[in-house]
């Protein structure tokens, strides 16, 4: 095993790459391959030290984007030093805030945005290490709150 790289299929990949640059500081370090209709056949972006591949959707190959499928079953979790700042930046870039930023019982502070292309991104900053006992109590407490909320 070496590296697992997600391959994002996107409707209007060029606009998405621009969004990821503004929202997450993504860079496109290599060559972008485009076909004669302007569809991106392949490129890669780097966010932090992670690489993602990106292409436009190619319905004739069964390669469809979240927008065409009515949502995505996958979400990405990004570790950032300042989740509040990053979520603000991502929303300013055009992302939808789908879970507000809040402290979690497991010691992280997280928020979630959904990008204009249908992918969900959880942004997360680790605040503190949590003991096993505290983790159990926190999980039980959250379960109680969920049930109480119906």
């Amino acid at each position: 095993m070496s590296t697992v790289t997600p391959y994002l299929c996107i409707k209007d990949a060029a606009r998405a790459i621009d969004f990821y640059a503004r929202a997450f500081g993504a860079v496109e370090p290599g060559a972008r391959i485009t076909d004669s209709t302007g569809r991106i056949g392949h490129t890669e972006i780097r966010i932090g030290d992670s690489t993602m591949y990106i292409a436009d959707e190619h319905p004739e190959l069964g390669f469809r984007s979240p927008q065409s499928l009515g949502g995505s079953h996958i979400q990405f979790v990004v570790s950032v030093p300042d989740v509040d700042g990053m979520v603000t930046r991502a929303v300013a870039a055009g992302g939808a805030l789908t879970r507000p930023v809040e402290d979690q019982f497991y010691g992280d502070r997280t928020g979630e945005i959904t990008d204009p292309f249908g992918y969900r991104w959880t942004l997360s900053t680790h605040l503190r290490d949590v003991s096993a006992g505290e983790l159990r109590r926190g999980a039980a407490e959250r379960e109680r709150q969920r049930k109480a909320a119906g």
Binding site: E28, A31, I33, T34, S36, G41
Partner: protein, 168 residues
């Protein structure tokens, strides 16, 4: 967009357009890939040479002054912004010709170098240059080929910039 059936490959290079154009043309052999994947005629050694100016030839010159293969001729020579040349492989028949256009545009990162390789529809679908590929598979094959070349080109261009002491 490129012409029908064409492939576009773009890369950002951290040098001025004039440096990019100079390295792309005058130092072509230094960055052009070697071996059977990138050299045109057996034994796939020798030198790649681009003669400067309109009508200049793109040549693959064998070692020991052996076989000289003409890939194409320059149709557009507009330093430092644009360059275009015809492109034929040794197995192309008369009338079968593709065309490569290269643009060097100022970009935030220095220069965006864009290669459009068009004219593939002059070849029948079964032509060996297509490697049996159509659609996206062909685009990725040909685009990946140019992508590897342009990545090597970028490395050399940025090294050339450092050696010249030039800063953007």
């Amino acid at each position: 967009m490129t012409a029908a059936g064409g492939v576009r490959v773009a890369i950002d290079v951290d040098v001025e357009p004039a440096v990019a154009f100079e390295v792309f043309t005058a130092e072509l052999d230094a960055w052009w890939g070697r071996g059977p994947r990138f050299r045109f005629v057996p034994p796939h050694a020798g030198t790649m040479r681009l003669e400067s100016g309109l009508g200049g030839r793109l040549l693959h010159v064998g070692d020991d002054g052996g076989r000289v293969f003409e890939v194409g001729r320059i149709e557009v020579w507009e330093p430092p912004r644009r360059l275009a040349f015809t492109w034929r492989l040794s197995n192309f028949r008369p009338g079968q010709v593709t065309r490569v256009e290269v643009r060097f545009e100022p970009a935030e990162a220095g220069t965006r170098v864009t290669v459009d390789h068009d004219g593939w529809d002059s070849l029948p679908p079964e032509h060996p240059a297509r490697h049996g590929l159509t659609g996206r598979a062909f685009v990725l094959m040909k685009g990946g080929w140019w992508g590897d070349l342009l990545t090597a080109f970028r490395t050399l261009a940025e090294t050339a910039r450092d050696h010249r002491g030039g800063q953007r």
